[in-house]
Symmetry: C2
Subunit: 469 residues, 2 copies
């Protein structure tokens, strides 16, 4: 990371934490240059970058100011208060009807689960594919099915090491995206009828997988910034025969919550005491806006209780379908389950990613992607403040590409979804994120697409629909 990028990140952190409030003047170039011990031109470069990221703006002859939307203008959602009672899951039909509505490419994709493909280095990946296939020994097309591409495994292990997780290579199972890994992990530690603790709101695919595997859900409420309610979890673990937890400890989908390191450590100790395995869904880990990668619960794992699932689908190569799990004590069994269901992720896709991770400039791409997403988040927050009812609440996650809106009680988000769709705008209504159909006045909006006049207009249209409730 260059010096000016580091400086920009430091200032961005001050803005996010509220030390530099919206409207506040950013220190002058001369002042910043002196106090940070860098050249004025480094400060300028940092400020240009912050301007690009939508966090500050220049006012003629007055210097730089924190933009109004740079911290949220709408308050954050309330903490949910679901009773943690086991529930049968039956949400698939609703999810599929929502997903089906996203197919029209002319729809404004606020309901999408992916960022814009324009944000990914697809041409560079294609070159890596060519190199990867050229260097692949013919026997590897068969050998790599069982073990996974060895260079890809090495590169993933190196990234774990860089964020403080020492991983025996045998723990790593490459999978068809994280969703397969999550499915396999769950099958590894549960039987039909078992109880699994999940988040509320939860990623809707979690609910679908539970439904498919005939598992029951205990919903643990998630605070929009701080993550799951540990007390509630502790009480559920004591009262109920919970067989596994499926949590996103960082940049939770849909709320964007990230647990603090202390809370992650406490979560691990709690699970360790009860010997309940954690399936840690960490697919947004690389999309943090702060200075460094959030540490996973896996980094506290002493006895292989945590299955940590990651993926390249959200941050580099959507459609390639390459994910993985650091499977702890369950790794061998997970690998065998994979051999029995899909055998292997695509060998060429593995080879392409192995080449890209070595030579493609992954960290440079990630920095650009994070900055683009942060700017887009600012734009959507500002538009929401302009167009949505004043009693709307919204999350302000420190990464990812989703905002979670809590509208006034009078808003029915399934109806909102239908009305918006009629205007060519998709969104993800709250009830698809709950086994018990809660969050009827909430919605998840995707800001993963470059912000333009059409996006702005779509927010205005949503505002008009919301006002009519």
């Amino acid at each position: 990371m260059k010096r000016y990028e580091r400086l920009a990140d430091q200032i961005a952190a001050l803005i996010r934490s509220g030390v530099l409030a919206p409207g506040a003047r950013v220190p002058s170039v001369r002042h910043a240059s002196r106090s940070h011990g860098v050249s004025p031109s480094t400060v300028f470069q940092a400020y240009y970058l912050l301007e690009d990221r939508g966090l500050i703006q220049a006012r003629p002859r007055s210097g730089y100011f924190v933009r109004e939307h740079a911290r949220q203008l709408l308050p954050e959602p309330e903490i949910g208060s679901a009773q943690a009672q086991p529930a049968e899951v039956d949400v698939s039909e609703l999810v599929f009807s929502v997903l089906g509505s996203l197919k029209d490419p002319d729809t404004v994709p606020f309901g999408s689960a992916f960022p814009s493909p324009a944000l990914f280095p697809l041409a560079r990946l294609a070159r890596s594919m060519a190199h990867g296939l050229r260097d692949l020994a013919p026997q590897a097309v068969i050998a790599d099915m069982t073990a996974g591409n060895p260079e890809l495994r090495r590169q993933i292990a190196l990234r774990y090491m860089a964020c403080g997780v020492r991983l025996p290579p045998a723990e790593l199972v490459i999978s068809n995206g994280a969703l397969e890994a999550l499915n396999l992990c769950l099958q590894c530690v549960t039987q039909p009828g078992d109880l699994v603790a999940i988040e509320a709101p939860a990623f809707y695919a979690t609910l679908q997988v539970l439904e498919r595997l005939k598992l029951k859900a205990v919903e643990i409420p998630v605070h929009p910034r701080e993550g799951i309610d540990l007390e509630r979890l502790a009480s559920s673990l004591t009262r109920l025969p919970v067989k596994a937890c499926w949590f996103m400890s960082s940049l939770q989908n849909p709320l964007g919550a990230s647990m603090s390191e202390a809370k992650k450590a406490a979560l691990y100790e709690l699970l360790q005491r009860h010997q309940v395995p954690l399936i840690e869904d960490d697919v947004y880990a690389e999309l943090y806006f702060g200075a460094q990668s959030p540490r996973p619960v896996k980094s506290f794992d002493r006895d292989g209780l945590v299955m940590h699932c990651g993926s390249f689908s959200k941050c580099l190569a959507p459609g390639y379908r390459v994910g993985w799990v650091a499977g702890g004590r369950y790794a061998e069994q997970i690998g065998r389950l994979r051999l029995m269901t899909t055998i292997s992720p695509s060998v060429p896709a593995q080879a392409a990613l192995a080449d890209y991770l070595q030579h493609g400039g992954y960290d440079r791409h990630l920095r650009r992607l994070r900055h683009a997403l942060e700017a887009q988040q600012g734009a959507m927050l500002a538009a929401a403040a302009r167009h949505f009812p004043a009693d709307t609440r919204v999350s302000q996650p420190s990464g990812g590409y989703f905002l979670w809106f809590e509208f006034p009680e009078r808003v029915d988000s399934l109806q909102l979804f239908q009305l918006a769709l009629a205007q060519g705008i998709s969104l993800a209504p709250g009830p698809i994120f709950s086994a018990t159909r809660r969050f009827g006045n909430c919605a998840r909006l995707n800001y993963g697409h470059p912000w333009d006049a059409r996006s702005e207009q779509a927010m205005a249209t949503l505002g008009r629909i919301l006002a009519a409730f």
Copy 2:
């Protein structure tokens, strides 16, 4: 197909059917030229091709003769006589211990499930990958995850049409290889505890999938040439609450049996009467040695009861992990199950195959591959006749790359497996093909690798081990 290739196929059919017996003189070039109405040079080309395929050999100044091994020298295995009783399946550990033994690249791979990668057009596929990725619109990396690559779907539908199956495009679900398709099909029509009719011997992955999904097996015996015993199946369907059948109607793994068209039609009518869905595992369909593609049971399907699963893994692109299912009335539900487990097969792999099927010369490749496999089958049969005990029985399938050996009762194939492995030779012992650990004196040998002195030596070694029992 060129004229000389057609002629060669006609003569090959005469050899296979026994009209031209081993040792018999093949008609002279002059005679053949007259009787087939082709030029002498066409006959020469056809004979060269048959020589390449290991079916005939020239004797100096005497003309061409059918090679001794061109029809089997060892008799075919007996029809099994398993009692069709429901059985719990518990074979995974055994299968994994056998598969684990295949990892050493120096082992003679008679136990492998794949043909040699040298037989596949990997460089041409890499070019198709480059073209496919170049032509892929950025949105497609996301859109193709749900629907599948549209050109790939079209190409697969065209191949169905060419062999007489009219397929509404909506029936086609692209999958992570056929094994995922088979898994999804089974989940679609069964619940844990249900009964599924399978073959005996059966592909071991079938057994593993049943075990994983907690399904019970009814084993239906397979005749080494004619396929499953329909009477036995009919009686099972009457006596037992069978929820689905998983059969390979052509080139069955491991026996190589292909049902006649009449028998396939009768199978369909039987299942239709009982309204029991058929999961038709047809992954070896393209590897027939005869003049034309065997017709699938799916071609008789009037009401969407047959789920027909295919793949490119055995005939074109191992490791790409692209298969499909023509899912009949279950297609939509299968597609949804896939979205909930792996979302999608790799989009680049789909694009590469779509390009290859259009421009790569698939049918030319398949002809070459079939001829290579047929020659290799001849070589392994001849070696077996030379080296194995005279009371050994062996299948002689009209396609694929597996031979099924039934050794004298005194041979314990699990012990044979261990002894052979100690000599650097792998094989697939009979019991991994049975839910009830039958076939203890049988083994499957793979002839999918170019035949050389090492292969010949390995057969001799196996012969010595067999003799010692």
